[in-house]
């Protein structure tokens, strides 16, 4: 017999012998988190800023690009990577960007879209479905996310539910819920930002969808 059959066989036998009663299901509807009467956008901003992310609130994609241009100057960002066609189109002529595999290792900043914004946690949910893939969400020192209000949801449960609806049984190979810049507290619980992932995380949250 294979290891697989042995393991599964033992588990099955023990469970059948035990015949453990099913525990009563607790209430899965009642709220467990503190509520707020803030708008989703304000709530998102407050929570992401609590964990050292920065949120900018442009009116539309055009304004977002202008803000990126300003940021690039302030933060001395020279090698900016962007793979997403919609964002590339908007950046063109305003902000210089790269998208060649050879340049990837040298990049300083990455610009990506996202799947959802989770207001309750201040999280940005990203996936490998788009042109940004997996690496661009973690490798740059500075990560700029361009998003819009229709991507906001209240809780993580909502984001996961909508994700499943969107991809309908064909989920991307990677989905990550990002909540702030990379950090470590492994040395005496002293917080240091930018361990392996980005040191800085900016979310440009546009009022108008694009």
């Amino acid at each position: 017999m294979s290891s697989r059959e042995n393991i599964l066989g033992r588990l099955k036998k023990a469970a059948e012998k035990r015949n453990a009663p099913t525990a009563a299901q607790p209430d899965f509807e009642a709220p467990i988190y503190l509520q707020t009467d803030k708008s989703l956008a304000d709530w998102f901003q407050e929570n992401l800023e609590l964990v050292a992310g920065k949120v900018l609130r442009p009116k539309n994609l055009q304004e977002a690009v202008a803000l990126i241009k300003q940021l690039a100057a302030e933060e001395n960002l020279e090698r900016i990577f962007c793979s997403d066609p919609v964002l590339q189109q908007a950046l063109k002529g305003q902000v210089a960007f790269q998208n060649d595999a050879e340049d990837f290792i040298q990049l300083q900043a990455g610009i990506t879209p996202c799947e959802f914004l989770v207001a309750h946690l201040g999280s940005v949910m990203v996936s490998s479905a788009g042109a940004s893939g997996r690496r661009l969400h973690v490798f740059p020192e500075t990560h700029l996310v361009v998003a819009h209000k229709n991507q906001l949801v209240a809780h993580l449960d909502d984001a996961l539910e909508q994700l499943q609806q969107k991809y309908n049984g064909n989920l991307p190979s990677m989905v990550t819920n990002i909540t702030g810049p990379s950090r470590t507290a492994d040395i005496e619980k002293t917080l240091v930002m930018g361990m392996h992932g980005p040191k800085k995380l900016f979310v440009l949250l546009c009022d108008e969808p694009f």
Partner: protein
């Protein structure tokens, strides 16, 4: 360091106390974000209990779904089988460099040692794990591996190993390691991760981390191997909406950990990057033995948050290494006898004052201190106490059940008999001296 030496080392105690006090403050803040933490824990407990009670079914579901996503599932009865599966993959890919993110399961099977034995570099990439790896040690705490080291200790270690400036700050050392490891991620052939959850309904693994090293590990190398204990199952993707924040609140006190990833397979057609191959190794290693025990099997609900370690008065004093096992603290004391044998590890179940703090803090409501008592019961049933101990207890019972028997011998002889059991108290305690006449005898003969 030997367990008895470290347990009584005052500097070591101060370091863990300091680290745990910082943890306590953070967790206090984290829990305040819940309006009904108790209900959240009841839900967490329900989800994991359902998963464990139907373990074989959910494992089959997981296998079917993740295989359909293009990953390959390998079942391993024990460490040896898991290691040989990894070795085979390494050889097939002519691997030279393996990068690893934090995983207690790989500690359990001593993956690094076995990989390096093949002449392949196996590199820890989580900062805490990296620190203990270059120090030539083992992780001290399941969430905070280098908890036993002060920042001065770590600065000195890096100074010795890499000639970094003396007394470097945590900021400097972090930046140093970031740069050093970037190169490694880019050049590694194989990425190995653990898995915090195996998601049955979508066929995916979930990984929780703050640093981004797990994301690097499953994004750059062309092969991704995830090694997970079979108990890591959750029924469905939506369970993570509850469990991710709950794990963070109890593990570090964060509202949620920075990176919570789901990996459902290798790179899909049409995707930009990611590994060409993904393997999931499902490790039993005596978990199915633990599963046979109608009380203790509940320990398989554990989500490895580490809260019970930090809450335990014994752990706070003696620390992680004294357990001499991969999983320390209360949860370690419950499961280690099953994973590594009762005769060598049951003493862990007895090194507990049954204060119940661990049970109180557990986010999935595992009755830890009760399970420790069940371990003690089972050890006695199996006759795992030593002969001297069992005879001693019988003699104790005989002598103490009647007052007159206690006075049958004089103080001198009692002192000698007491010495027979001296080891039971350990080297650090002394047996009090008996008076020649007992109190009861003195009372009767008082003038």
């Amino acid at each position: 360091m030997a367990a008895d030496k470290i347990a009584f080392d005052k500097k070591h105690r101060a370091t863990i106390r300091f680290n745990i006090s910082r943890y306590d403050q953070a967790v206090d803040r984290g829990k305040k974000r819940y309006s009904n933490l108790e209900l959240a824990k009841e839900r967490g407990s329900f989800i994991k209990e359902k998963a464990i009670n139907n373990l074989h079914e959910y494992l089959l579901q997981f296998e079917k779904n993740i295989t359909a996503n293009g990953a390959e599932v390998i079942w391993a009865e024990n460490g040896d089988e898991a290691i040989s599966a990894v070795q085979k993959i390494l050889q097939q890919n002519q691997a030279k460099l393996l990068v690893k993110s934090k995983s207690m399961t790989t500690e359990e099977i001593d993956l690094n040692e076995h990989v390096e034995h093949l002449g392949i570099e196996s590199l820890e990439t989580d900062l805490g794990e990296y620190i203990v790896q270059i120090a030539g040690e083992k992780p001290y705490h399941i969430v905070t591996p280098a908890m036993h080291k002060s920042k001065e200790d770590i600065a000195e270690l890096f100074h010795e190993k890499f000639d970094t400036p003396e007394k470097s700050t945590p900021e400097f050392l972090t930046a140093y390691v970031r740069k050093l490891l970037r190169n490694k991620f880019v050049n590694a052939d194989i990425g190995v991760t653990g898995s915090n959850f195996l998601i049955a309904d979508i066929g995916g693994i979930a990984l929780t981390e703050n640093e981004g090293n797990a994301m690097m590990t499953f994004s750059f190398p062309k092969v991704h191997i995830a090694i997970a204990g079979i108990e890591k199952i959750v029924p469905s993707l939506k369970d993570l909406g509850l469990l991710w924040p709950l794990l963070a609140a109890h593990g570090t006190g964060q509202q949620v950990t920075v990176y919570n990833s789901i990996v459902t397979g290798p790179k899909k057609t049409g995707e930009t990057d990611g590994p060409e191959k993904m393997y999931v190794i499902l490790l039993d290693n005596n978990r199915s033995e633990l599963y046979r025990h109608d009380e203790q099997y509940l320990a398989l609900k554990c989500i490895r948050c580490g809260a019970c370690l930090n809450a335990c008065p014994i752990y706070k004093n003696v620390g992680g290494y004294t357990y001499a096992a991969t999983y320390s603290g209360p949860i370690g004391s419950v499961i280690t006898p099953f994973l590594k044998g009762f005769s060598d590890y049951n003493h862990l179940s007895s090194a507990c004052s049954v204060c119940g703090k661990c049970t109180e803090v557990c986010p999935v409501k595992i009755p830890l201190h009760n399970l420790l008592l069940f371990n003690r019961r089972d050890a006695v049933k199996q006759g795992n106490g030593t002969f001297a101990w069992n005879m001693g207890m019988k003699a104790f019972e005989y002598a103490f059940s009647k007052r007159s028997r206690l006075d049958a011998v004089g103080g001198n002889l009692k002192n000698k008999l007491g010495l027979l059991g001296k080891n039971a108290l350990g080297d650090q305690k002394e047996l009090p001296k008996f008076a020649e006449k007992s109190f009861s005898q003195q009372w009767k003969s008082k003038p």
